[in-house]
Symmetry: C2
Subunit: 145 residues, 2 copies
Amino acid sequence: MSILEEHESSPGLLLALLGYDAMRRLRAAHDAHGLKPRQFQILGLLEHGGLSQRELNDRMGLDPSLVVALLNPLEADGFVSRERDPADRRRHTVSLTPAGATLLVAAGEAQRAVEDDLFAALDTQQREQLRALLLALNQPASDCA
Amino acid sequence: MSILEEHESSPGLLLALLGYDAMRRLRAAHDAHGLKPRQFQILGLLEHGGLSQRELNDRMGLDPSLVVALLNPLEADGFVSRERDPADRRRHTVSLTPAGATLLVAAGEAQRAVEDDLFAALDTQQREQLRALLLALNQPASDCA
DNA sequence: TATTGTTATACTCTATAACTATA
DNA sequence: TATAGTTATAGAGTATAACAATA
């Protein structure tokens, strides 16, 4: 059943509801691996080298306190390691462990499967269109603050 | 600042995060009128005549308990009225009051302003494209249950 | 003083289960 | 028994403020 009938859907609310559904499905997929969608995102961000928590905050658009709460279980389970930066002892460099890299691969397959299902109604070209439009939305013309 | 860099955004998570941001902006806009986005949606659904709560559940894709919680303040503030259906006394017919109709107009302008800002990065044609793609996502090809 | 990371608390939206009343 | 509506509780994701350690 559809979330909204066409005539009663404002574009903004439609986007909000579809986004909520997307997060719900991502969560269901990653639950099998003991991950939250945002934790999977962190593993992906660490794939090509360690980052400070500050860098994770910035790239994810999240408050530092959120990143701490996401990292703690990942570190406890051995998927991620935290080391103090010798050059600036305030910084904690977060890195992917071998176990974390393995988990990233397995959970990545689950995520791709979910996204295939999520966008099943669109063909390849339409998916590319949608992706391009969403990326445009994500980069506001200018920060006129 | 953008929520995600291009290379690190899965389409599904991108949709989820943009949807969250859309809901956040809608909430901010409707707060000025004492409404939640879902309550504004209810007012819109009642614009062309009364509905039972059951019909509201179905059209909004929400659990009945949610609709109750959304309606109670609306009724208390006089924007909506509930009357028992004489034909089936289990049914409560929900209708828009004159005050509710006035609120719908005012809040509708706020919502349009938010959506204009939300989709500011897109031209008219791109907005139509996006809307069509989102509507397609919202109507899964078939419920192969 | 400013920055990195941490802790604690609270808010929004939604889901589920159990209940009442009507049919 | 089944349906319309209600109540209460819980969960996920995020935001904010206050704090300790380091620069």
